[in-house]
Amino acid sequence: MALINPKKREVQVKIVYYGPGRGGKTTNLEYINRKFKKRILNEMVTVKTYGDRTLFFDFLPFDIGEIKGHSIKIQLYTVPGQVKYNATRRLVLRGVDGIVFVADSMDLRREMNIRSLQNLKENLESFNKNIFNIPLVMQYNKRDLSDEGIPILSVETLEKDLNSRLKAPCFSASAIRGDNVAATMKKVIALTVTSLRKKLE
């Protein structure tokens, strides 16, 4: 749950980028870090393995201004995507307010996407949260790969596999090029902040 400090009139909102390993969660945050450098006061924190994979999480905090007299501090996190790091994923999900599910459009990763989304659902349940109620945005990443002739899943297939019941807002994106990275982030912030509005009144 977002933390509201009534003395400083400040709200801290936690948004987690979830999805299968090597799907581009960290790349999303790296792009945001470059693109919005002026608004980001602190360095992005990453806890990586030697192989440059996210071991624990990436963390990027920034301010988005005021809503109803409260300054809003957004904290973006990623989780490690690899299956074996579930304990760490659960730690990062603690207190989450909004989620971006970064799906990998590569043909080969179809099964991985489905399993990761199922894993998200289960981990949320362990915190008594329902995937259908939490602010969630779908991002179909790596759309650029089709330009290189690499087989990718159609958006329709991804929608059917992942979003037929959730019906979350979705974006086709290329995190490496920056396509729709900001749009995804803006959408999840908007959904999350809207869900908090009642609490701020």
Partner: protein
């Protein structure tokens, strides 16, 4: 397990007063009261430091969770002393309540024993406020 911690303005002021008196006035550099989601609830410092407290809190929450999981693996509920010692500055972690953590950053002018005593006192007083 999910939790919501809502503090009133008065509670935050009382906690700030406790932390100022028990820890900052005793020579501690910086204190952060945070939840295990990594949110900063109260942050005070002596004016000599300029740490990135939000990143610190995010990492501390993860670190605390990881250490607790390690404790469970070897059959412990938790480790009662969590402390990282640096050459100049050190960090001490103390659990205040189920989801609240007190992070204390201090330098070599403050002894660990004395700090633990003062932290225990502060934690006791904070528990009366929340």
């Amino acid at each position: 397990m999910e939790f919501t911690i809502d503090f009133t303005k008065e509670q935050i002021e009382s906690i700030e007063e406790i932390l100022q008196k028990e820890l900052i006035d005793m020579g501690v550099q910086s204190v952060i009261l945070m939840d295990l989601a990594g949110n900063v609830i109260v942050n005070l410092d002596s004016g000599e430091t300029d740490h990135d407290v939000f990143s610190l809190a995010a990492l501390a929450a993860g670190n605390y969770g990881a250490v607790s999981a390690m404790a469970n693996i070897i059959g412990e509920q938790e480790f009662s002393l969590l402390f990282h010692k640096g050459e100049e500055e050190s960090i001490h972690f103390s659990k205040v309540a189920d989801d609240l953590l007190l992070l204390t950053i201090f330098n070599k002018n403050v002894s660990l024993g004395f700090l633990r005593l003062k932290v225990a006192e502060a934690v006791k007083r904070i528990k009366n406020v929340i």
